[in-house]
Protein backbone atom coordinates (compact mmCIF):
# COMPACT_ATOMS: atom_id res chain seq x y z
CA UNK A 1 0.00 0.00 0.00
CA UNK A 2 1.50 3.36 -1.02
CA UNK A 3 1.49 6.42 1.24
CA UNK A 4 -1.31 7.79 -0.90
CA UNK A 5 -3.32 4.60 -0.59
CA UNK A 6 -2.83 4.50 3.18
CA UNK A 7 -4.00 8.10 3.40
CA UNK A 8 -6.97 7.34 1.16
CA UNK A 9 -7.93 4.36 3.32
CA UNK A 10 -7.73 6.50 6.46
CA UNK A 11 -9.80 9.16 4.72
CA UNK A 12 -12.51 6.59 4.00
CA UNK A 13 -12.55 5.56 7.64
CA UNK A 14 -12.83 9.15 8.86
CA UNK A 15 -15.61 9.85 6.39
CA UNK A 16 -17.53 6.75 7.43
CA UNK A 17 -17.13 7.49 11.14
CA UNK A 18 -17.84 11.22 11.05
CA UNK A 19 -19.23 12.23 7.67
CA UNK A 20 -16.25 14.53 7.10
CA UNK A 21 -15.23 14.35 3.39
CA UNK A 22 -12.16 12.20 2.87
CA UNK A 23 -10.49 14.98 0.85
CA UNK A 24 -10.13 16.98 4.07
CA UNK A 25 -8.12 14.17 5.64
CA UNK A 26 -4.60 15.35 4.87
CA UNK A 27 -1.42 14.66 6.85
CA UNK A 28 -1.21 18.11 8.42
CA UNK A 29 -4.83 18.11 9.59
CA UNK A 30 -5.40 18.11 13.32
CA UNK A 31 -8.33 15.89 14.29
CA UNK A 32 -9.57 18.31 16.94
CA UNK A 33 -8.60 21.74 15.60
CA UNK A 34 -9.06 21.24 11.85
CA UNK A 35 -11.58 18.41 11.53
CA UNK A 36 -13.55 19.11 14.74
CA UNK A 37 -13.55 15.43 15.66
CA UNK A 38 -14.43 14.61 19.28
CA UNK A 39 -12.85 12.00 21.52
CA UNK A 40 -15.61 9.43 20.95
CA UNK A 41 -15.32 9.72 17.17
CA UNK A 42 -11.56 9.21 17.59
CA UNK A 43 -12.36 5.94 19.34
CA UNK A 44 -14.61 4.93 16.43
CA UNK A 45 -11.88 5.81 13.95
CA UNK A 46 -9.34 3.84 15.97
CA UNK A 47 -11.48 0.72 16.18
CA UNK A 48 -12.25 0.88 12.46
CA UNK A 49 -8.55 1.36 11.70
CA UNK A 50 -7.72 -1.62 13.91
CA UNK A 51 -10.07 -3.80 11.90
CA UNK A 52 -8.93 -2.48 8.54
CA UNK A 53 -5.17 -2.53 9.12
CA UNK A 54 -5.00 -5.43 11.59
CA UNK A 55 -3.19 -3.40 14.24
CA UNK A 56 -3.84 -2.59 17.88
CA UNK A 57 -4.19 1.06 18.93
CA UNK A 58 -4.35 1.05 22.76
CA UNK A 59 -5.96 4.03 24.51
CA UNK A 60 -2.63 5.56 25.68
CA UNK A 61 -1.35 5.47 22.08
CA UNK A 62 -4.62 6.82 20.72
CA UNK A 63 -4.34 9.82 23.04
CA UNK A 64 -1.04 10.75 21.34
CA UNK A 65 -2.46 10.75 17.81
CA UNK A 66 -3.24 14.42 17.26
CA UNK A 67 -2.97 14.70 13.48
CA UNK A 68 -3.65 12.54 10.44
CA UNK A 69 0.10 12.38 9.94
CA UNK A 70 0.51 11.01 13.47
CA UNK A 71 -1.79 8.12 12.54
CA UNK A 72 0.10 7.44 9.32
CA UNK A 73 3.38 7.34 11.27
CA UNK A 74 1.82 5.08 13.90
CA UNK A 75 0.57 2.67 11.24
CA UNK A 76 3.97 2.60 9.55
CA UNK A 77 5.70 1.95 12.89
CA UNK A 78 3.19 -0.83 13.58
CA UNK A 79 4.27 -2.54 10.38
CA UNK A 80 1.38 -1.61 8.12
CA UNK A 81 2.99 -1.59 4.66
CA UNK A 82 3.09 1.86 3.10
Amino acid sequence: MSDENLLAALGEIVQEATGIPAVRVVPAASFVDDLDIDSLSMVEIATMAEDRFHVSIPDPELAKLKTVGDVLEFLAAAGVPA
Binding site: D38, S39, L40, M42, V43, E44, A46, T47, D59, L62
Partner: protein
Protein backbone atom coordinates in the same frame (compact mmCIF):
# COMPACT_ATOMS: atom_id res chain seq x y z
CA UNK B 1 -31.64 -35.16 52.10
CA UNK B 2 -32.94 -31.89 50.70
CA UNK B 3 -36.37 -32.22 49.14
CA UNK B 4 -36.35 -31.76 45.37
CA UNK B 5 -37.86 -28.57 44.03
CA UNK B 6 -41.41 -29.54 43.20
CA UNK B 7 -42.15 -26.87 40.65
CA UNK B 8 -40.45 -26.00 37.43
CA UNK B 9 -42.40 -23.55 35.33
CA UNK B 10 -42.04 -20.46 33.22
CA UNK B 11 -41.88 -16.80 34.22
CA UNK B 12 -42.69 -13.46 32.69
CA UNK B 13 -42.95 -9.77 33.47
CA UNK B 14 -46.54 -9.02 34.50
CA UNK B 15 -46.37 -5.27 35.03
CA UNK B 16 -44.19 -2.20 34.52
CA UNK B 17 -43.82 1.01 36.51
CA UNK B 18 -41.71 4.13 36.23
CA UNK B 19 -40.93 7.12 38.41
CA UNK B 20 -39.28 10.23 37.06
CA UNK B 21 -38.42 13.12 39.39
CA UNK B 22 -40.24 16.35 38.57
CA UNK B 23 -37.15 18.53 38.20
CA UNK B 24 -35.89 18.76 34.60
CA UNK B 25 -32.31 19.97 34.10
CA UNK B 26 -31.50 21.01 30.54
CA UNK B 27 -28.09 21.25 28.91
CA UNK B 28 -28.47 25.02 28.97
CA UNK B 29 -28.93 24.81 32.74
CA UNK B 30 -25.64 22.91 33.05
CA UNK B 31 -23.90 25.41 30.77
CA UNK B 32 -24.53 28.09 33.38
CA UNK B 33 -21.91 26.53 35.66
CA UNK B 34 -19.87 24.23 33.41
CA UNK B 35 -17.64 24.85 30.38
CA UNK B 36 -20.07 23.26 27.94
CA UNK B 37 -23.12 23.94 25.80
CA UNK B 38 -26.17 22.14 24.43
CA UNK B 39 -24.57 21.27 21.09
CA UNK B 40 -21.42 19.90 22.74
CA UNK B 41 -23.40 17.66 25.08
CA UNK B 42 -25.85 16.42 22.46
CA UNK B 43 -23.10 15.66 19.96
CA UNK B 44 -21.25 13.47 22.45
CA UNK B 45 -24.07 11.89 24.42
CA UNK B 46 -27.40 12.50 22.72
CA UNK B 47 -28.71 13.83 26.02
CA UNK B 48 -30.94 16.92 25.81
CA UNK B 49 -32.16 16.96 29.42
CA UNK B 50 -32.26 14.83 32.52
CA UNK B 51 -34.34 14.43 35.68
CA UNK B 52 -32.77 15.27 39.03
CA UNK B 53 -34.25 14.13 42.33
CA UNK B 54 -35.80 16.53 44.79
CA UNK B 55 -35.35 16.27 48.55
CA UNK B 56 -38.33 13.91 48.78
CA UNK B 57 -36.98 11.57 46.08
CA UNK B 58 -34.84 9.13 48.06
CA UNK B 59 -33.82 5.85 46.42
CA UNK B 60 -36.42 4.08 48.58
CA UNK B 61 -39.14 6.61 47.76
CA UNK B 62 -38.50 6.43 44.02
CA UNK B 63 -38.32 2.61 44.05
CA UNK B 64 -41.56 2.51 46.03
CA UNK B 65 -43.32 4.85 43.60
CA UNK B 66 -42.24 2.81 40.56
CA UNK B 67 -43.15 -0.45 42.29
CA UNK B 68 -46.61 0.80 43.23
CA UNK B 69 -47.26 1.54 39.55
CA UNK B 70 -45.88 -1.84 38.46
CA UNK B 71 -48.12 -3.65 40.93
CA UNK B 72 -51.16 -1.74 39.69
CA UNK B 73 -50.18 -2.52 36.10
CA UNK B 74 -49.85 -6.23 36.92
CA UNK B 75 -52.98 -6.52 39.06
CA UNK B 76 -50.97 -8.37 41.70
CA UNK B 77 -51.90 -7.67 45.32
CA UNK B 78 -48.84 -6.55 47.36
CA UNK B 79 -49.64 -9.16 49.99
CA UNK B 80 -48.86 -11.90 47.48
CA UNK B 81 -45.36 -10.62 46.70
CA UNK B 82 -42.82 -13.13 48.00
CA UNK B 83 -39.60 -11.26 47.25
CA UNK B 84 -38.59 -7.66 46.69
CA UNK B 85 -35.27 -7.05 44.94
CA UNK B 86 -33.91 -3.54 44.53
CA UNK B 87 -31.05 -2.90 42.10
CA UNK B 88 -29.15 0.23 43.06
CA UNK B 89 -25.62 1.52 43.50
CA UNK B 90 -26.44 4.96 44.85
CA UNK B 91 -27.73 4.56 48.40
CA UNK B 92 -26.03 7.13 50.61
CA UNK B 93 -26.17 4.60 53.44
CA UNK B 94 -25.17 1.09 52.42
CA UNK B 95 -26.85 -0.35 55.50
CA UNK B 96 -29.75 -0.91 55.72
CA UNK B 97 -30.50 -1.71 52.10
CA UNK B 98 -33.46 -0.32 50.19
CA UNK B 99 -35.40 -3.51 49.52
CA UNK B 100 -36.93 -4.22 52.94
CA UNK B 101 -38.01 -0.60 53.20
CA UNK B 102 -39.66 -0.82 49.79
CA UNK B 103 -41.38 -4.09 50.78
CA UNK B 104 -42.68 -2.39 53.93
CA UNK B 105 -43.82 0.69 52.04
CA UNK B 106 -45.83 -1.27 49.47
CA UNK B 107 -47.39 -3.55 52.07
CA UNK B 108 -45.55 -6.71 51.02
CA UNK B 109 -45.55 -7.92 54.60
CA UNK B 110 -44.68 -11.52 53.74
CA UNK B 111 -41.83 -10.74 51.35
CA UNK B 112 -38.15 -11.48 51.61
CA UNK B 113 -35.96 -8.63 50.44
CA UNK B 114 -32.45 -7.94 49.21
CA UNK B 115 -30.48 -5.36 47.25
CA UNK B 116 -28.35 -5.99 44.17
CA UNK B 117 -25.40 -3.80 43.26
CA UNK B 118 -24.09 -4.52 39.78
CA UNK B 119 -24.04 -0.80 38.93
CA UNK B 120 -25.72 -0.14 35.58
CA UNK B 121 -26.26 -3.86 34.96
CA UNK B 122 -28.10 -4.42 38.25
CA UNK B 123 -31.63 -4.58 36.90
CA UNK B 124 -30.82 -7.34 34.41
CA UNK B 125 -29.13 -9.47 37.07
CA UNK B 126 -32.02 -8.89 39.48
CA UNK B 127 -34.58 -9.77 36.82
CA UNK B 128 -32.82 -13.10 36.25
CA UNK B 129 -32.86 -13.83 39.98
CA UNK B 130 -36.56 -13.03 40.09
CA UNK B 131 -37.24 -15.22 37.08
CA UNK B 132 -35.41 -18.15 38.66
CA UNK B 133 -37.30 -17.66 41.92
CA UNK B 134 -40.55 -18.03 40.01
CA UNK B 135 -39.39 -20.88 37.81
CA UNK B 136 -38.21 -22.96 40.75
CA UNK B 137 -41.34 -22.35 42.77
CA UNK B 138 -39.76 -20.32 45.57
CA UNK B 139 -42.61 -17.87 45.40
CA UNK B 140 -45.47 -16.67 43.21
CA UNK B 141 -44.57 -13.04 42.63
CA UNK B 142 -41.35 -11.04 42.78
CA UNK B 143 -40.90 -7.28 42.54
CA UNK B 144 -37.74 -6.01 40.87
CA UNK B 145 -37.17 -2.30 41.31
CA UNK B 146 -34.17 -0.37 40.04
CA UNK B 147 -33.68 3.07 41.53
CA UNK B 148 -30.80 5.50 41.39
CA UNK B 149 -30.11 8.89 42.87
CA UNK B 150 -26.79 9.47 41.15
CA UNK B 151 -27.00 13.23 41.64
CA UNK B 152 -25.74 12.64 45.21
CA UNK B 153 -22.51 11.25 43.78
CA UNK B 154 -21.87 13.62 40.88
CA UNK B 155 -19.13 16.22 40.99
CA UNK B 156 -21.13 19.08 39.52
CA UNK B 157 -17.90 20.90 38.62
CA UNK B 158 -16.62 17.98 36.51
CA UNK B 159 -18.09 18.09 33.01
CA UNK B 160 -17.77 14.50 31.79
CA UNK B 161 -19.86 13.01 34.60
CA UNK B 162 -22.12 16.00 35.32
CA UNK B 163 -23.58 15.92 31.80
CA UNK B 164 -24.35 12.19 31.97
CA UNK B 165 -25.82 11.05 35.25
CA UNK B 166 -29.36 11.47 36.52
CA UNK B 167 -32.04 10.05 38.81
CA UNK B 168 -35.14 7.89 38.52
CA UNK B 169 -36.65 4.46 39.12
CA UNK B 170 -38.27 1.66 37.16
CA UNK B 171 -39.90 -1.52 38.41
CA UNK B 172 -41.42 -4.76 37.20
CA UNK B 173 -43.53 -7.49 38.76
CA UNK B 174 -42.48 -11.01 37.76
CA UNK B 175 -44.76 -14.02 38.06
CA UNK B 176 -45.56 -17.48 36.65
CA UNK B 177 -46.42 -17.95 32.99
CA UNK B 178 -47.62 -20.66 30.64
CA UNK B 179 -44.75 -19.99 28.19
CA UNK B 180 -41.23 -18.56 28.63
CA UNK B 181 -41.41 -14.79 29.02
CA UNK B 182 -37.88 -14.16 30.28
CA UNK B 183 -35.00 -15.70 28.36
CA UNK B 184 -31.75 -17.03 29.83
CA UNK B 185 -29.42 -14.53 31.49
CA UNK B 186 -26.24 -13.94 29.52
CA UNK B 187 -23.60 -12.06 31.45
CA UNK B 188 -19.93 -11.31 31.85
CA UNK B 189 -17.41 -9.06 33.53
CA UNK B 190 -13.93 -7.56 33.24
CA UNK B 191 -12.56 -6.61 36.62
CA UNK B 192 -9.24 -5.85 34.99
CA UNK B 193 -10.86 -2.66 33.73
CA UNK B 194 -12.40 -1.76 37.09
CA UNK B 195 -10.79 1.66 37.07
CA UNK B 196 -12.69 2.83 33.97
CA UNK B 197 -15.79 3.74 36.02
CA UNK B 198 -15.70 4.32 39.73
CA UNK B 199 -15.48 6.74 42.60
CA UNK B 200 -12.77 9.10 43.73
CA UNK B 201 -11.44 9.18 47.28
CA UNK B 202 -14.02 11.90 47.82
CA UNK B 203 -16.76 9.47 46.78
CA UNK B 204 -17.59 11.21 43.51
CA UNK B 205 -18.29 9.41 40.23
CA UNK B 206 -15.55 9.41 37.62
CA UNK B 207 -15.32 7.63 34.29
CA UNK B 208 -12.89 7.36 31.42
CA UNK B 209 -15.43 8.21 28.75
CA UNK B 210 -13.52 7.27 25.60
CA UNK B 211 -12.29 3.98 27.10
CA UNK B 212 -15.79 3.04 28.26
CA UNK B 213 -17.12 4.01 24.84
CA UNK B 214 -14.58 1.73 23.16
CA UNK B 215 -15.39 -1.19 25.45
CA UNK B 216 -19.14 -0.83 25.04
CA UNK B 217 -19.08 -0.36 21.27
CA UNK B 218 -16.68 -3.23 20.64
CA UNK B 219 -17.89 -5.81 23.19
CA UNK B 220 -21.62 -5.22 23.70
CA UNK B 221 -22.62 -5.84 20.08
CA UNK B 222 -21.34 -9.40 20.49
CA UNK B 223 -23.05 -9.60 23.87
CA UNK B 224 -26.39 -8.56 22.37
CA UNK B 225 -26.15 -11.33 19.80
CA UNK B 226 -25.31 -13.85 22.52
CA UNK B 227 -28.41 -12.77 24.46
CA UNK B 228 -30.55 -13.42 21.39
CA UNK B 229 -28.82 -16.75 20.67
CA UNK B 230 -29.39 -17.95 24.24
CA UNK B 231 -33.10 -17.17 23.93
CA UNK B 232 -33.34 -18.74 20.48
CA UNK B 233 -34.60 -15.44 19.08
CA UNK B 234 -33.59 -14.06 15.69
CA UNK B 235 -32.76 -10.33 16.06
CA UNK B 236 -35.16 -9.73 13.16
CA UNK B 237 -37.99 -10.98 15.40
CA UNK B 238 -37.31 -8.44 18.16
CA UNK B 239 -39.90 -5.71 18.61
CA UNK B 240 -37.62 -3.59 20.78
CA UNK B 241 -33.98 -3.17 21.70
CA UNK B 242 -33.71 -1.80 25.21
CA UNK B 243 -30.07 -1.16 26.01
CA UNK B 244 -28.64 0.55 29.05
CA UNK B 245 -29.17 4.23 28.35
CA UNK B 246 -25.54 5.20 28.84
CA UNK B 247 -25.10 7.43 25.84
CA UNK B 248 -27.11 7.58 22.62
CA UNK B 249 -24.03 6.95 20.48
CA UNK B 250 -23.27 3.74 22.35
CA UNK B 251 -26.90 2.66 22.01
CA UNK B 252 -26.90 3.37 18.27
CA UNK B 253 -23.62 1.52 17.73
CA UNK B 254 -24.75 -1.64 19.55
CA UNK B 255 -28.16 -1.60 17.88
CA UNK B 256 -26.51 -1.28 14.46
CA UNK B 257 -24.21 -4.21 15.18
CA UNK B 258 -27.13 -6.34 16.38
CA UNK B 259 -29.07 -5.67 13.20
CA UNK B 260 -32.53 -5.87 14.72
CA UNK B 261 -34.09 -4.45 11.61
CA UNK B 262 -37.71 -4.56 12.78
CA UNK B 263 -37.16 -3.30 16.31
CA UNK B 264 -37.66 0.10 17.84
CA UNK B 265 -34.46 1.14 19.65
CA UNK B 266 -35.11 2.74 23.04
CA UNK B 267 -33.70 6.26 23.26
CA UNK B 268 -34.96 7.35 26.68
CA UNK B 269 -31.47 8.72 27.43
CA UNK B 270 -32.35 11.82 25.39
CA UNK B 271 -34.73 13.14 28.05
CA UNK B 272 -33.65 11.06 31.03
CA UNK B 273 -29.86 10.94 31.03
CA UNK B 274 -27.96 7.95 32.37
CA UNK B 275 -29.82 6.53 35.36
CA UNK B 276 -27.57 3.48 35.80
CA UNK B 277 -29.59 0.42 36.91
CA UNK B 278 -32.90 2.23 36.43
CA UNK B 279 -32.36 2.95 32.76
CA UNK B 280 -33.57 -0.34 31.23
CA UNK B 281 -36.95 -0.53 33.04
CA UNK B 282 -37.46 3.22 32.55
CA UNK B 283 -36.77 2.91 28.84
CA UNK B 284 -39.00 -0.16 28.46
CA UNK B 285 -41.85 1.51 30.33
CA UNK B 286 -41.57 4.57 28.15
CA UNK B 287 -41.69 2.54 24.94
CA UNK B 288 -44.89 0.84 26.04
CA UNK B 289 -46.45 4.07 27.36
CA UNK B 290 -45.78 5.73 24.01
CA UNK B 291 -47.24 2.78 22.11
CA UNK B 292 -43.93 1.91 20.42
CA UNK B 293 -44.09 -1.67 21.71
CA UNK B 294 -47.13 -3.79 22.41
CA UNK B 295 -47.94 -6.53 24.87
CA UNK B 296 -46.36 -9.75 23.65
CA UNK B 297 -43.54 -8.11 21.71
CA UNK B 298 -40.04 -9.47 22.27
CA UNK B 299 -37.57 -7.00 23.75
CA UNK B 300 -33.82 -7.42 24.10
CA UNK B 301 -32.57 -6.02 27.39
CA UNK B 302 -28.84 -5.53 27.91
CA UNK B 303 -27.10 -3.40 30.51
CA UNK B 304 -23.42 -2.74 31.18
CA UNK B 305 -21.25 -0.51 33.26
CA UNK B 306 -19.00 -0.18 36.30
CA UNK B 307 -17.23 -3.32 37.36
CA UNK B 308 -16.97 -3.75 34.49
CA UNK B 309 -19.99 -6.01 34.47
CA UNK B 310 -22.84 -6.67 32.04
CA UNK B 311 -25.97 -8.79 31.70
CA UNK B 312 -28.99 -9.19 29.49
CA UNK B 313 -31.94 -11.31 28.46
CA UNK B 314 -34.79 -11.30 25.99
CA UNK B 315 -38.17 -10.60 27.60
CA UNK B 316 -41.78 -10.52 26.52
CA UNK B 317 -43.35 -7.10 26.96
CA UNK B 318 -46.23 -7.22 29.46
Amino acid sequence: MIRATAVERHSRILGLGEYRPAKVVSNDDLALTLDTNDEWIQQRTGIASRRIAGDEDSVVAMATAATTKALADSGVDPGRVGQVIVATCSMTKHVPGASAQVAHAIGATAAGAYDVNAACAGFCYALAAASDAIRTGQTEYVVVAAAERLSDWVDWTERSSAILFADGAGAVVVGPAAAPGIGPLVCGSDGGAADLIGMTDHRLLRLDGPAVFRWATTEMGHAARRVCDAAGVDPADLGAVVLHQANLRIVASIAKQLGATNAVVADDVIETGNTSAASVPLALARLRREGKVATGDLALTLAFGAGLTWAGSVVTVP
